[in-house]
Amino acid sequence: MMKDITIGQYFPGNSVIHRMDPRMKLVLTFLYIIVIFVCKNFYSLGAMVFALVLMVLFSQIPVKTILKSVKPIFIIIVFTAILNVLYTTNGTILFEWKFIHISTGGIYTAVFMVIRIISLVVASSLLTYTTSPTLITDAIERLLSPLKFMRNSVHTIAMMMTIALRFIPTLIEEFDKITSAQKARGADLETGTLVERAKALIPIFIPLFITSFRRAYELAYAMECRCYHGGEGRTRMKQMKLHGFDVVGLVFMVVVTAGVVSLNIVFPHLI
């Protein structure tokens, strides 16, 4: 059912990647994404893929799970590949029919793009697989907090994101539960015209909204009871610290970046 969705799912673990400082992971993932776009040829891209494979291995996340993160964008990948094959016409022509020209150049570009997109998705999934959503928002807040003039709004937004993320699974669970309950009363969600099916959702969404509002009030009261009044003067329970392996991670990324840049210079062509 709805439970099977895996957006930004977190897989608890104890690998080096899991234990890295979330701020460092965030920065490095960002850097990785930028460098992916700096790549100009297959050599530098290969270096990036190699780096990614290393990171995945260190994270101890099963390869199957990693591949699952690519599944939702499969259509986009196929689409990109087809467009690139059709619209790039340099290199030797392999196949020609009416307006369709397939050239070696097109195929190379398509493969290049596909690898690039997959690496992008895998890298960002690696971040969410190994870091809990709360830690990610926390890290975002800390990274942005030097912006003094908007410090409070940074805190508010981070708090809102944390709460929203925290309640996604709860809402999904609630949705499943109410759906089951209404089905038990004979609600028919599977058959009928579009309008009928939309109408059949009313008995599910009304209780869902009411429960959500109730929950929001309760949470607000609970926060006030614990004297929450925004970010001003708040100290942290959990301090984030940089460890040795965070530095190793940074050095690794810097080396990879340097490698990519030099490979770009040495090999000026795609292949």
Binding site: K3, D4, F11, P62, T65, K177, I178, S180, A181, Q182, K183, A184, R185, G186, A187, D188, I202, P203, I206, P207, I210, T211
Partner: protein, 287 residues
Amino acid sequence: MAILKTENLTYCYSTGTPFEVTALDNANIEIDDGELVAVIGHTGSGKSTLIQHFNGLLKPTSGKVLVDGKDIWESKASLREARFKVGLCFQYPEYQLFEETSYKDIAFGPKNMKLSEEEIDRRVRKAAEFVGVTDDMLERSPFDLSGGEKRRVAIAGVMAMEPKILILDEPTSGLDPKGRDKILGLIKEYRQETGSTVMIVSHSMEDVAKIATKVLVMNSSKVMSYDTVDETYKRADEIMQMGLDVPQITKIFMGLHEKGFPVRTNIYTVEQGIEEIKRIRGQVNGL
């Protein structure tokens, strides 16, 4: 003949993911027509998972569910039939209310059964009267009722479907002792009046002892036993080992037994306790 039967019923949540859990392991149950079955077991033992199979909300990973001797997953029609034959009322049913008035909410089930207007009206009024929902409450929004009243409206919503088997998941959770007794009384009365089979899930052995004819004990995804209340309480110590609480009166008699008094230990109501004390009075000095 058994009205409800399961054959090697097994169910796993999230199959094919790292989070796979077997919530129900090879359950074989046979429930006769007209029983009032209490399902007990501690948190996470698979009670809710089990009962959601009886009206086809969950599809067995393997095994069969038979209602009235018919496999409910045989066809679409048999599944729909099971939905109406087996009325299932979830835990905290008051959070499923959604209509403008309580009347409309109770009518939701019967309406889905495509009954005639008069029949719907008859059933709604009957169910409402049964659970003690007044005409005034029927016209009000269900959201303006108290928690206990909401709960009764929600239960009426399932009763109005007049199922042959009524199943309630923890109908008394979160209510005060008075509200609890009221709901339990209603359930007992409902069974006597309609002759339907009733099943309630509960954490409280005390509640169970008051009304049930049979007890189904679940422990870590398995059905441990299905027997009369008497027989079940003979093994009160085993039940306590599973982390369930037995009624206080049972604990007293278990204690007496341990101290060497010749008392039975399957005592679960105060009345039985009085009888037992009277019985041994002549035999023991100083009593």
